[in-house]
Each structure stands twice: as structure tokens, then as C-alpha cells.
């Protein structure tokens, strides 16, 4: 952040009432940092702050304790203004062990606050984190403010009366830390106490111990401030963000996609069939949906991703809304079956929660590198609509839109999300469902005028959906080229030409049925457009906002519809002197835009498994404009 004066996110450590604060909890994967982060998020939302989070955890389930690769972190950015990213650099770093300090401290803002559990900084853990000397005791952390105390010992003391074993007692460390964090930001403990009681309903001792640890951490903040011994711990009060009145909740992308798919199926008046196979970070959607049977949802954990999509296709054929979901490697396996859905013209929604690739890649890290796969990744000329969600809350509407297009055009639709959106939580103003227009499906139940044509078309080029079980309309479909109208097997050259064009035109025609591309910030025309898609929305938006505040002529365009693209997009892009496309890949949307519109779009790429920082995009904007 080159220009701190204009920065709406001011440092917690330099301002008594900052607008926004970034806190990162980091610890061993066994330390329960994701849980701590999740509960802190809830309390933050309840305090009325706007927020965004970034859970970042290792791929290993139980990575060896104390190791650098076993560090699990949870970052939250919250404030009294509009928050759209998890924040660039933390103001506060909570480090539960040396490895957590080592892997995270370099991100901390200069002057930022480190809270470290000195009890874990023993020789063994220091060695595992490859520290030659104890950083808490030399001056290697001088750039920052350091508060270290023996959280382990303090926790043990606070839960002594419950007679837990050493290991169990130490497990309460995360609640002690959470208690301290709650005190720091003047938060109510009650919702978390309620949650602990509920979580440990079957083991009340554990509930009591965790609550005691929570309270002890909180009390420690209070006494440290009063008795202090020069600890310099201050309480900060972040004002609530102005938000429209209404009911709110926090939502992760995996939740909102699941809810959106259920809503979509209901709006289409269809039962839903979901075929899935576990894969990070897509599994959460399968988990959520498997609990929603009363909404006509059938979930099926198949033997592999191919069976998952094939069963969904079978269900669509039989009159349900077939849905499947996976991440890159699984989507690759589904490729052939996606072609079958395109050929047989059956509705299907395929959710891709992207992760770092290729191959197994970075299972728990985020990337946007499956855009080519989504748009082009099949054999033959196999057009398919592609939609991308920008945030957890936006994913709800995207899921409904994917369902709508699938059933209104009898086509598979791919919905792109990513590991960041899937796991991140943000406050969500609960939508008023009566505001959504239903799009009920009608199945063909008797022959069209002039005889039954399974591959006859309406004005949108959609073929009819006929459910097996319908008398008189028996017919056969399959992946072999179909004859125009009748759908019989047909290999003739002219027919294949005609059918290929028909499939293309049907999908391109969807452009007539989606909103024109709007400009998120700025206006049509000017010096520079930043064009983004997916989860880079947040950092791009903030970067453009800051640049505009500095008087720079830059606009932000964000694509939801990746294929087909909105009809006015070419015109819009050509109205700017320059176009810059930040992506978490090596330039995939950039290439598609260049191909579609012959515009000189330039790439800004990041493939580190971490989301863009606002400052990175801001710097790129300045570079383009000088």
C-alpha cells in the first residue's frame, strides 16, 4: 500500500478507532484455528462489522505436529466500511507455535501486533520450525510489537478444576485465545458460550472446560490492561458497518451454492438429484445437500466422478434436475459425460470448485485455472454455458441462474467457483425468496403437432424434455450424432454440419437471455478497464476504488457469464484504451477476450495459491496509467 493516507484500511496499531482490522490466527493444524476463526467470524458479524475471511489450511489431515507445512491459518478482515477481501496484510497475528510465526510473520504489517504462545517456543518446536534461536528472545521481531505469554500454561490452569488429561486440557487453548481476541475487540462471549454448550452437549465437562478457557482468556485481556506490566494490550472498538436493514447471516460459498441449487430446483418445480464423489474443496456441497431431503433432494455418493455425473445425467433423463460437483481433477474425469449431456441435450448443472492444478496440484489452495477446461475442455465442438461466482453471497444467485439456463435451454451448464469462495465466509443479507420469478419446467406429454419429434426445436432451439413413463412418446437417445428433428442415429455429413451448428447456435443464443455487461465501478470508455471474473472480484474492486479515489481513470468490469458472453461486452471493452485482466492463472480469460473481440487485453497473473492482494492490483493499475 504505497499511499497509506488514502488507504481506507488503517492500521489497528496506529489508530485508536480504525475502520478495519485484519487478524490472522495461525497454529498447528491440530490447534483448532479454523474453529477459532469461524467463531470469531460469527462474533464479528454479530457486532455488525462487514467482513471477509480466508481460511488457509494444509492438504494433510494431520500433518506432523509443529512442522512448517502443518500450519493452519485463518484470516479475517472486518470493519465499519464495505469489506470485499480478506485483507492484504494482517494487523494482528496470533501465532500458536514457532512454525506458525515463521510462516506468517512476514505478511504482518510493519508495527503490527504479534501475540505468541511462549509455552510452545521450546527447543523441539523451534528446531521443527528451523529457528536457530528463539525469536521471542532476540530482536528479530523488532519491526513489530510482540506480546508473548504462556498461553499453554494459562489454559491448563484455567481448566484445572475439570480434571482433564494434559492433551485434552491443551485442546482448550484455542478457546483461551478466542477469549482474548473477543476482549480485544470488545465482543460478546454469549453466542460462543451457547455454541460450545451445543457442540459439547454430550460431554458437558468439555463444554465447561472450554467455556472456562474462553473466560480466562477474556479476563487475561482485562487484567493485562489494568495490571498490564507494560504489556501494551489495548482494546479496540470497531464501529458497525452501515448495512441495509434486514435479516443477515454468515454464509460460505459451499453453503450458498447448495442453497442456490435447492432454490433453483424449487423455482423449476423439479426434484433434485445430486451425484458427487468426495474431493477438496467441493465435498462440502455434497455434505450440505445430503441433509436437505425435505426439498426433494436425492444425493448419491457415487464410486467415482464419472459415475457421479453419469448418474446425474440418468436422473435428468428421467425427469429430475441432475447436478454434479467436483474440482479440477474430477471435472477432467467428467469430460466425456459432459459431451454426452451436450449431445443428448439434457439439463445438468456441473459445479467446479477450482483448486490449484494441474493434476492433484494444490488441493486446499485456490486458483482460477479451469476456465479453459470449462469453456473448451471437451472432445468435439461441444459448447456449454459457463457461469462464475464472485463471492460466497453471489454464488447463491449464480446457482439459480445456472439451473435456469440448464432447464430453459436443455443443456449442461458449468458453474465455476473456487476454494476461496467455497471456504470463505461473509455476511449475507438473507434474500427474500418471493422476489425470485419461478421458471417451472413443462415436460412434453403428447406428440407435437404433426408428430412426435424428440429433437424438434422451439424458438430458443431447445428440444423437448420427455420423461420415460410417458405413454406414446417412447424414443431412444444417445451420444451418436442425431438426425435433425427425429434424433435417430445419423452420420451423414450435411446432418453433422447442421447439428454442430445448431448446438453452437443454441448456446450462443443464451446471450439474448442474460443481462448486458455492466460496469462495476467507473463508466464506459476511458483509459483503463480492469476485467475480472470469479473470486478476484474483491481485491479488484478495492484496488479500482482506491485508484479512482486518487483520480485515476480506471473502471472495473466483472464477468458473471463466461460463456456465452454478454452481447455488449465487445463494444464495452473496445471503449477503453487499455484492458487489464487480473486472474489467478496464466491468462485464460485474457486469451478468450482477445480471441472473441480482438482487443489487446493484458494479463496480470498470480498462481501462488493465495488470492490477490489489493496492493498488487493497485500497483498494476498505476503501472498501466503511467
Amino acid at each position: 500500500m504505497a499511499t497509506a493516507a488514502l488507504d481506507p484500511i488503517t492500521s489497528a496499531t496506529t489508530d485508536a478507532s480504525p475502520e478495519a482490522v485484519v487478524v490472522r490466527f495461525a497454529g498447528d493444524s491440530g490447534d483448532g484455528m479454523q474453529l477459532t476463526g469461524g467463531q470469531f467470524t460469527l462474533s464479528t458479524a454479530l457486532a455488525g462489522n462487514d467482513l471477509a475471511t480466508f481460511p488457509d489450511f494444509p492438504a494433510e489431515i494431520r500433518a506432523p505436529q509443529g512442522t512448517l507445512f502443518g500450519v493452519s491459518a485463518f484470516q479475517i478482515n472486518f470493519g465499519s466500511t464495505d469489506i470485499t477481501t480478506a485483507g492484504d496484510a494482517p494487523d494482528v497475528l496470533v501465532a500458536m507455535n514457532p512454525a506458525a510465526l515463521k510462516t506468517n510473520v512476514k505478511d504482518l504489517k510493519p508495527g503490527g501486533l504479534i501475540i505468541a504462545d511462549s509455552g510452545e517456543f521450546n527447543d523441539r518446536n523451534l528446531a521443527k520450525a528451523k529457528y536457530d534461536a528463539n525469536p521471542l528472545e532476540d530482536d528479530s521481531l523488532a519491526k513489530w510489537q510482540l506480546l508473548s505469554f504462556d498461553i499453554s500454561k494459562l489454559t491448563m490452569e484455567s481448566v484445572k478444576e475439570f480434571g482433564l488429561g494434559n492433551k485434552e486440557a491443551l485442546r482448550c487453548k484455542n478457546m483461551w485465545t478466542l477469549g482474548l481476541a473477543l476482549w480485544m475487540f470488545d465482543r460478546d462471549r454469549q453466542p460462543i458460550i451457547d455454541w460450545l454448550k451445543d457442540k459439547f452437549a454430550k460431554a458437558p465437562v468439555l463444554a465447561d472446560a472450554n467455556i472456562a478457557a474462553l473466560n480466562a482468556g477474556h479476563a487475561y485481556g482485562e487484567t493485562a490492561e489494568i495490571g498490564g506490566a507494560g504489556l501494551g494490550l489495548k482494546q479496540l472498538n470497531i464501529a458497525a458497518a452501515p448495512a441495509p436493514e434486514g435479516l443477515y447471516r454468515t454464509v460460505t460459498g459451499a453453503e450458498s451454492i447448495s442453497l442456490g441449487l435447492v432454490a433453483g430446483a424449487q423455482l423449476a418445480s423439479l426434484p433434485m438429484f445430486f451425484g458427487g464423489y468426495p474431493i477438496t474443496p467441493a465435498s462440502a456441497i455434497l455434505h450440505h445437500l445430503s441433509r436437505l431431503k425435505e426439498y426433494g433432494v436425492t444425493t448419491f455418493q457415487a464410486e467415482d466422478e464419472i459415475a457421479a455425473i453419469a448418474s446425474a445425467i440418468g436422473a435428468s433423463y428421467a425427469g429430475s434436475l441432475g447436478i454434479t460437483s467436483s474440482s479440477g481433477p474430477g471435472i477432467a474425469l467428467k469430460g466425456e459425460a459432459i459431451g454426452l449431456a451436450i449431445m443428448t441435450e439434457l439439463p445438468l448443472v456441473i459445479v467446479n470448485s477450482q483448486r490449484g492444478g494441474p493434476s492433484t496440484g494444490l488441493p486446499t489452495k485456490t486458483e482460477q485455472s479451469d476456465l479453459y477446461q470449462a469453456v473448451y475442455g471437451r472432445n468435439g465442438d461441444a459448447p456449454m454455458p459457463v457461469i462464475a461466482a464472485r463471492s460466497p453471497a453471489d454464488a447463491f444467485d449464480c446457482a439459480i441462474e445456472a439451473v435456469r439456463i440448464a432447464v430453459e435451454y436443455m443443456t449442461p451448464v458449468m458453474l465455476l467457483t473456487d476454494g476461496y469462495i467455497a471456504n470463505a465466509a461473509e455476511p449475507w443479507k438473507v434474500p427474500d425468496m418471493s422476489g425470485y420469478t419461478p421458471f417451472p419446467v413443462t415436460f412434453l406429454d403428447k406428440a407435437q403437432e404433426g408428430g412426435f419429434l424428440p429433437y424438434g426445436r422451439d424458438e430458443k432451439l431447445k428440444r423437448p424434455w420427455v420423461k420415460p413413463g410417458t405413454p406414446g412418446l417412447m424414443h431412444r437417445i444417445g451420444g451418436i450424432e442425431k438426425a435433425l428433428n427425429t434424433g435417430h442415429i445419423e452420420y451423414s455429413p450435411a446432418n453433422h454440419q447442421a447439428m454442430t451448428e445448431l448446438r453452437r447456435d443454441k448456446v450462443l443464443g443464451i446471450a439474448n437471455d442474460i443481462p448486458d455487461q455492466d460496469v462495476e465501478l467507473g463508466q464506459k470508455g476511458g483509459k483503463l478497464a480492469i476485467v475480472g471474473w470469479g473470486s478476484t472480484f474483491g481485491p479488484i474492486y478495492q484496488a479500482v476504488r482506491r485508484a479512482r479515489a486518487k483520480g485515476l481513470d480506471v473502471s472495473h468490469i466483472h464477468l458473471r457469464h463466461i460463456w456465452p458472453m454478454p452481447k455488449n461486452l465487445g463494444d464495452l471493452l473496445k471503449s477503453y484504451e487499455k484492458v487489464l485482466v487480473p486472474e489467478m492463472n496464466t491468462g485464460q480469460l485474457k486469451t478468450v477476450l482477445r480471441d472473441q473481440y480482438l482487443v489487446d487485453a493484458k494479463p496480470l497473473n498470480k498462481v501462488s495459491g493465495q488470492p490477490f492482494r489489493i496492493a498488487e492490483i493497485e500497483a498494476a493499475i498505476e503501472e498501466q496509467l503511467t
Partner: protein
Amino acid sequence: MNDMTPVKLTPKDWETDQEVRWCPGCGDYAILKAVQRTLPDIGATPENTVFVSGIGCSSRFPYYVESYGFHTIHGRAPAVATGVKLANPALDVWIVTGDGDGLSIGGNHTMHILRRNLDCQILLFNNEIYGLTKGQYSPTSREGTKSPSTPFGSVDHPAKPAALALGSGARFVGRGFDVSKNLPDVLKAAHAHKGAAFVEIFQNCIVYNKDVFADFTEKKNADEGQLWLEQGKPMLFAKGAKGIALDKEKLTLKVVEVVDGDWEAAGVIVHDVTNRSVAHMLVEMPFGAFPMALGVLYDDPVPTFESAIVAQNELAAKGKVPDLQKLVSQGQTWTVGKGGPEL
């Protein structure tokens, strides 16, 4: 297509207007006829019948049956069929697959549909060859099979479809062959079985693997080569002159001579379709030393996958009223009012 008429349908009613495109003399024709003869007898209706297939010569089958049909992709028919049946359990689902389709590329799905016990009939046309791709050896080809991809003879040990099915948990295993007059009876039994019914049908690919089953299918070999199993009947063949008995020392099956029709004295086993242990021995019985076991080898139904899913879905939904507005409002919520947020 008089689907609503109570008049009994005829095999002709199950023919489509599509030109059948198998090689002249292919065993698939006979199987098609057997199926078209079976369907009217079991009271099937075209609108409620769905044939799902993968890819291969055999998998062209659905185009020739006047019902709903889905010719899917190579090996995946069981998975597609699972979705069809779960979406609408009232449909009568038939799967047609080949030895390559069902045991090679789709082996995984075959195993899982059987262990889950989806109610359907699985007809595996075993011609011990890849017909459609012009004659490469398949997972059921015998060792030494010369084919375009194994010019010096194949070296892998063949899979035994029926043994694989039983090992995967199948509750019905039947066997027949293309031109057998008994095939419709096996198909009827498969259809009557509630659950996944696996039927291996030996099929003559006259172009790429001609007559590999002649040792038991040809008339002159029928007596010695075919053991037709019938519930409650002794396992006799060779016109009753031979039978199958249990070698109680080795715990294996053996062929015994039956003198003067006294099969009991010879220790010939009475076929009990619910005896899983004997079924395991029957599917493993090596042809040559033994006749080919045909008919219904095993039939012992257990609850089906789709019925369990439906029951669980109903139970989980019981007493809950679907309410989208309520659903999206779940979790920890707060209200932003004029005075800011509150719980």
C-alpha cells in the same frame, strides 16, 4: 404402441422402425428376439421400460426395442441407470453391456451397481472380444487369443463374469446363450428378481470370434456341454447320465456317473438357488472338466438400493415442511435494524 390397451402385447410391438445394423449372423439378433419374446410375457409396458446401454455392438440394443432407450458412453451404463432408477423407481430398467464395456472400462460401475443392489436387469453379452472396435481381445478372452492387438496370442488370465458378479455381491446370477430356447426363461427369472439381476449371455461374434462357445452351444455338444439348473431339481446333464456332486473331502464339485437314473445314490446335488456357497462353486466350475452351468445359478433377493434411498429420504423429510425462506434464513442470524445489529 397401444400402451394403454389391456390386450397382451406381442414381440412385434417391441420392434422399432430402425434398421438393425449388426453383422448378418451375429448372436445379438437372437438375443434381441429373446428379449422381444420375453417382454410381453412379463407384462412390461413400453412406456415404463428403459433400456440403458454403454458402447459396443451389444450396446446398440436399445435402438431396436420399442421402449425408452439411452445409448450412453463406454462402460457407464450402470451409473446412468442408477440415476434413472433413483429419479423414478417405478421404471423397469434394463442394462445391456458387453464384456469390454461392462468388465473392462466399466468394471468399476458393474461392481458397484451389484453391491448396491439397484433393481434392474443387467444383460452382459459375452463374446470374449471387442466387436465394435474390430476384434481386439477382451477381458474375457481366453489365454492365447490371437487378435489385432495380440498377434502372438494374449497372455492375461481371463475374467469370469459370473464369478465377478457374485463376488461383487450380486443376489441374482443367471446364464444363457444367444440361440438357446431357454434364454427367455432366464430373462423372466431375472426380471422377477427384485434387485440387481446379472445375466451373462454367451454371444457368438461370427466376424471376430466365431464359434468360441461351440463346445457347449452346438447341438451335438449340448448334452455333455450344458448343465441347465432348475430350482429343486438334481443337477443332471448328459440326458441324466451324469450329475454334479460335492466332493466332501476336497470341498469341491465333481462330475459323477448316474446309474439307472438313481441320482440320489450318486450323490447329485439338488439345486437350491438360494445356496450362495454352491453358487460360488458353480460360477467357478471350469468348462471342459465340467459342463457349462446355465439357467438361474443363484437367486436370493435382499432389499434394493433405491427402496432404501426412498425410505431414508422419506424418513429424513418426515414432519419437515419445505420452506425456502426458512431454509435460507437458517444458521446464526442477526437483524440490522435502525439501531444496528442485534441477535
